[in-house]
């Protein structure tokens, strides 16, 4: 079943025809040629597809595109309008918080969402009231990195939180 939806992607209104089965991830990657969100597992088990949907971090592989009609989608690329890096992106660069780069756009979106959640006072399983290393790690644990950049990711997110 084909259907047309309107999405605001990285600040631009986009109209796209999707199958009802199309996930937001595939709509972005395969129909809108937006390469920022990555497909690592397609089942909500790795975090590489993380985007901000109406401001919240979600896994775009588990969102049917038809349910996202009219919503605002921000990918890692949208966090750097005109090429100026977001503080989280700059912190990732400064701290070499990635290697192969495939999980990175998802890590970046997740960090932006996580810092926003922290600022709003949302608790975490770890339960520190400060962004200690363990606290950051718990909030970032939904984003797997096989290159093993976690130590630097935690440092980068702490740096971005101070920015």
């Amino acid at each position: 079943m084909q259907t047309e939806i309107n999405l605001r992607v990285d600040g631009t209104d986009r109209q796209v025809t999707v199958d009802t089965r199309t996930t937001l991830l595939d709509a972005l990657r395969e129909r809108l040629a937006n390469t920022s969100p990555k497909k690592g597992c397609d089942h909500g088990q790795c975090g590489a597809c993380t985007v901000l949907l109406n401001g919240r971090r979600v896994l775009s592989c588990l969102v049917l595109a038809v349910t996202a009609g009219g919503k605002d989608v921000v990918t890692a690329n949208g966090l750097a309008p005109d090429g100026e890096l977001h503080p989280v992106q700059q912190a990732f660069l400064d701290n070499d918080a990635f290697q192969c780069g495939y999980c990175t756009p998802g890590q970046v979106c997740s960090a932006v969402g996580a810092l926003d959640e922290f600022r709003r006072g949302w608790p975490s399983h770890h339960g520190d009231t400060e962004l200690t290393r363990a606290e950051v790690a718990e909030r970032m644990s939904g984003n797997l990195c096989r290159c093993g950049a976690y130590t630097n990711i935690v440092t980068a997110v702490q740096q971005a939180a101070r920015a």
Partner: protein
């Protein structure tokens, strides 16, 4: 994944009718399990009915307790100050589940209805009585690490994966359902079934039944409660064993106690036998251990590769003791 129609109904009644009237229709809320299953080929609906807009997405006070709309996202519920203060075990359970992204998606109504993560259930190419009744249970003699030890049957040894549901079970929550015959309530502890000879049915709900809200009764004991999850990764992993517990100790004696277990059964397991064994007893470690033993009297490990899941039996005891020790020490 075959093609399907997508509908956004006007209200809960329309949503319920759309699904109840079509054997091949399903509800879609957060999508975290349904979309997963669509891709795995575990479900093949003709119609997907989006219910994210038809039930409440608010938590409201009612009769001294809280009334949680089915569309409340897990992250909002976990962060709700009333939940954190009055039902900490529920907040902790939610926060120990999945990841920040998934909690932003998953709903209060959907989370308890997620299906087992048994590898054989999720793999269309192997036998599974839950997925294909009569095909057999491949988990027995196979990868049994995450399987159950309580209430299993020869047909199914799967565990329920939700953390939230374990806390709701301990809290005596009540599920509000809208079905073809109208509205009704189901005690949360009776929502999920044991597998018996019909493991394909996870719950007592019928096709078309829509969870509209979950009610938390006023539960003073829950103000000092905990959810303890033991898992293989430090985060972002399903439970091997989990314990939701609350205890009221006065003068060194357990006046009241709530215990529910996760990762051990086809349903969130309310440990009534352990509670019974503890009430009126001294709040000492030996009694905690005996209470756990009472609950585990019928526990049975699943044979499998790498020693099956026999380790879960001592792990339950140790975790229950650990949690109760922690809670009672805080008490003093």
């Amino acid at each position: 994944m075959r093609a399907f129609d997508y509908q956004v109904p006007a209200d809960a009644l329309a949503a319920m009718r759309a699904v109840a009237g079509n054997d091949s229709a399903v509800f879609l809320a957060g999508g975290t399990n349904l979309v997963d299953h669509l891709k795995l080929g575990l479900t093949h609906p003709d119609l997907v009915v989006d219910i994210t807009g038809v039930t409440s997405d608010e938590v409201v006070e009612r009769d001294g307790g809280l009334w949680i709309g089915a569309a409340v996202r897990n992250s909002d519920l976990a962060a709700d100050p009333r939940v954190c203060e009055r039902y900490p075990m529920l907040s902790e359970a939610l926060l120990s589940g999945a990841s920040g992204q998934l909690r932003n998606m998953a709903t209060a109504g959907g989370n308890p209805l997620q299906r087992t993560r048994c590898g054989y259930f999720q793999d269309n190419t192997t036998p599974c009585n839950k997925r294909r009744p009569g095909s057999g249970c491949a988990a027995v003699g196979g990868h049994a690490r995450y399987q159950g030890i309580l209430g299993t049957s020869e047909h199914c040894v799967a565990t329920h994966p939700s953390d939230m549901a374990v806390a709701l079970s301990a809290l005596d929550a009540v599920v509000h359902v809208l079905g073809p015959d109208g509205e009704r309530t189901i005690p949360f502890t009776e929502l999920h079934r044991l597998p018996g000879d019909e493991p394909s049915r996870d719950t007592v709900l019928h096709h078309g039944d829509l969870i509209t809200a979950i009610e938390l009764p006023d539960t003073p004991i829950a103000r000092r409660s905990r959810y303890r999850k033991v898992r293989d990764r430090a985060s972002y992993a399903f439970a091997l064993v989990s314990v939701a517990a609350a205890v009221d100790v006065t003068d060194g004696v357990v006046r009241d106690v709530r215990i529910a277990l996760g990762g051990v059964a086809h349903k969130p397991w309310r440990a009534y036998l352990a509670e019974e064994a503890l009430r009126g007893q001294a709040a000492i470690e030996d009694n905690f251990r005996e209470a756990a033993a009472a609950e585990l009297v019928d526990a049975r490990a699943v044979d499998g590769m790498d020693g099956g899941n026999a380790f879960k039996i001592p792990l339950v005891t140790r975790t229950v003791v650990s949690v109760l020790r922690g809670l009672t020490q805080e008490n003093q």
